[in-house]
Symmetry: C2
Subunit: 193 residues, 2 copies
DNA sequence: GTCTATACAGGGATAGAC
DNA sequence: GTCTATCCCTGTATAGAC
């Protein structure tokens, strides 16, 4: 209820703004992605953007949230076999959306400030992702060199750090390096190495 | 030659600005470290800062460069025995200078733009650090699971990624996790594990 | 609810006086 | 070498039109 009628336009506008924001970031880089520029793409004034999202930072946080919904990261991490390939597939996909990667990394830094709107987002997402990794990549048939939580932190850290390297030098083979790391730290029983 | 005389004051001012910039970043965070604020600490106007460094970004890049000189990272990585502890010591030290870590991470993201003044800095520093890691942490007495360059990239990525996690949640044990990673991927012959 | 118009404070950067 | 003055652009708050 109340989804149709007077709200319909607003919902559509929200989506439009989110997509335009990502578009501008992809084309002009994060730093030059001003509210003015995004608003022009949508065909409205900057104030209209702030009507839907309270601030620029909240807008960008919403872009990240939407990506998570859309990607639905978690399903890929259900079992150990699919986990490795699912994880690598996400990383491979990131290669196709540099704007999103730039946005993610930039906000991850800014969100260090507890007052930043994305602070809780990163805290929660980070923990959710880690327990998902810990659950999927824990192998019990060998003496584990690393406890699950440490393993998860390392994989997450390596993934984020590789994105930084890749942004500065796009020739960096993110999927290949992550595959090597995972296969070394948490070799799949099925692959027998 | 030409270091004394009319240049002397300028050199001193440069150092003073660099230190003040770091001071303000440490106290107020990167985002709130405006040229105005830094200039006030030094006792000059923002325009004076721009006289020495061409732009805000160049100023902050210079801060990072100075840190590298001062730290002199490389000496610690001369041999395999000292490498591990030297590396961990740097990470432990970073825990004491959150402002510097924030600055480094922020610039690492912004420098993705090839036009950013810190772009080349990160490209060069990154490569130098990696070859240093590759040289130090390569163990020949066991079948190497990872080639030296991949190993170096992973250690560097994990280190940078952990800083991201640590900034958002300062309870993260960076040195402990990095130690676990290094001991797993490149166990020291002396320690025999 | 959706949005424009307007105004404002703050930022970095530039030109030119001293 | 340093300052003042100025400029333009940023994000944001408010008022009110539709």
């Amino acid at each position: 209820m109340a989804v149709r009628g007077s709200y319909a336009k607003g919902v559509a506008r929200r989506e439009e703004i989110l997509e335009s924001a990502l578009d501008v970031i992809g084309r002009k880089g994060y730093q030059n992605a001003s509210l003015k520029e995004i608003a022009e793409v949508v065909g409205v004034t900057p104030a209209a953007l702030l009507h839907y999202f309270g601030s620029k930072e909240e807008l960008f946080t919403a872009v990240l949230r939407k990506r998570d919904e859309h990607d639905g990261l978690d399903p890929a991490f259900l079992d150990a076999e699919g986990a490795r390939d699912g994880f690598l597939e996400v990383i491979r996909h990131n290669t196709q959306v540099p704007g999103l990667v730039a946005l993610f990394s930039r906000l991850a830094v800014d969100a260090a400030d507890p007052a930043h709107p994305a602070h809780d987002y990163f805290l929660e997402r980070s923990e959710r992702l880690r327990s998902s990794i810990a659950e999927s990549f824990t192998n019990d048939d060998q003496r584990p060199a690393l406890d699950p939580d440490t393993l998860a932190r390392i994989i997450q850290a390596a993934s984020d750090g590789l994105q930084l390297q890749w942004m500065i030098d796009p020739t960096v083979d993110m999927p290949g390096i992550m595959a090597a790391l995972i296969d070394t730290l948490a070799p799949s029983p099925a692959r027998g190495d």
